[in-house]
């Protein structure tokens, strides 16, 4: 059902820019739940910012690494940060909508995937620094 998923994604993105449509359905949740959702959104934004900062840091602090490898690592981290930021707002709006409708909060594979990806990048960097690949 990739078509249905795509339509859901488009509807979700349209919701980002039309917050009043969110208020049309369901009941307003306790403001404390909304604030907790907002803090989760901000925590994901900080994660995204840390990945972007990591991208800058790879480019600056691994100068002896071959250009291709260094660019690949930096671009991976920068792209990861951008994806993380987009996912943050998408998850925030989906959680807010689920709370209004009284549904279960959306579950997602994203944290696991991000954790694995960060682990792989970290391992690669340890090897690069320890072995001096591409030097």
């Amino acid at each position: 059902m990739t078509g249905g998923r795509f339509a859901d994604a488009v509807a979700g993105v349209r919701l980002w820019f039309a917050p009043e449509r969110l208020r049309e359905e369901g009941n307003t949740p306790d403001y404390r739940f909304s604030l907790a959702n907002e803090r989760t959104f901000l925590a994901w934004l900080r994660t995204a910012m840390a990945l972007v900062g990591g991208g800058f840091a790879v480019d600056q602090f691994l100068p002896d690494t071959g250009r291709a490898l260094r660019l690949a690592l930096a671009l991976t981290l920068l792209a990861g940060g951008a994806v993380c930021a987009l996912r943050a707002i998408n998850h925030w709006i989906r959680c807010e909508r689920a709370m209004r409708r009284g549904e279960d909060l959306p579950v997602s594979r994203f944290p696991v995937m991000l954790g694995l990806a960060v682990g792989v990048v970290a391992l690669l960097m340890v090897i690069v620094v320890a072995v001096g690949w591409g030097g």
Binding site: Y31, E38, F56, D59
Partner: protein
């Protein structure tokens, strides 16, 4: 002075501090971008990218300040999706400028 309605869980305060922390994280990334420009030796593209990073940081500070002012209300309103999109846009801007700065 006691407030008429005080949330014992201090939710607005925690949210306010979360905005502050996030602003700080953006400041760290922006200073790394500044360091990057110094290393690149100051061509026109790195300088342009750095100014965009600094601008996106300033935009984030503005969004955070606006939101923190609204959090002072006894029952703070929902974060507007315009503010959320703006905050995400600042992070995306920093990521794109970072990619443009790579040597």
């Amino acid at each position: 002075m006691t407030e008429p309605v005080r949330d014992p869980g201090l939710q607005p305060e925690r949210t306010r501090l979360a905005w502050r922390r996030t602003t700080l994280a953006c400041a760290v990334a922006a200073s790394l971008a500044g360091r990057q420009t110094l290393h690149a030796g100051g061509g026109p593209l790195p300088v342009l990218a750095l100014s965009l990073v600094v601008l996106s940081w300033l935009a984030f500070v503005a969004v955070a300040h606006h939101r923190i002012r609204h959090l002072h209300a006894p029952r703070p309103p929902l974060l507007t999706s315009r503010a959320a999109v703006a905050a995400v846009g600042c992070v995306m801007g920093a990521a794109v400028c970072g990619a443009a700065m790579l040597r």
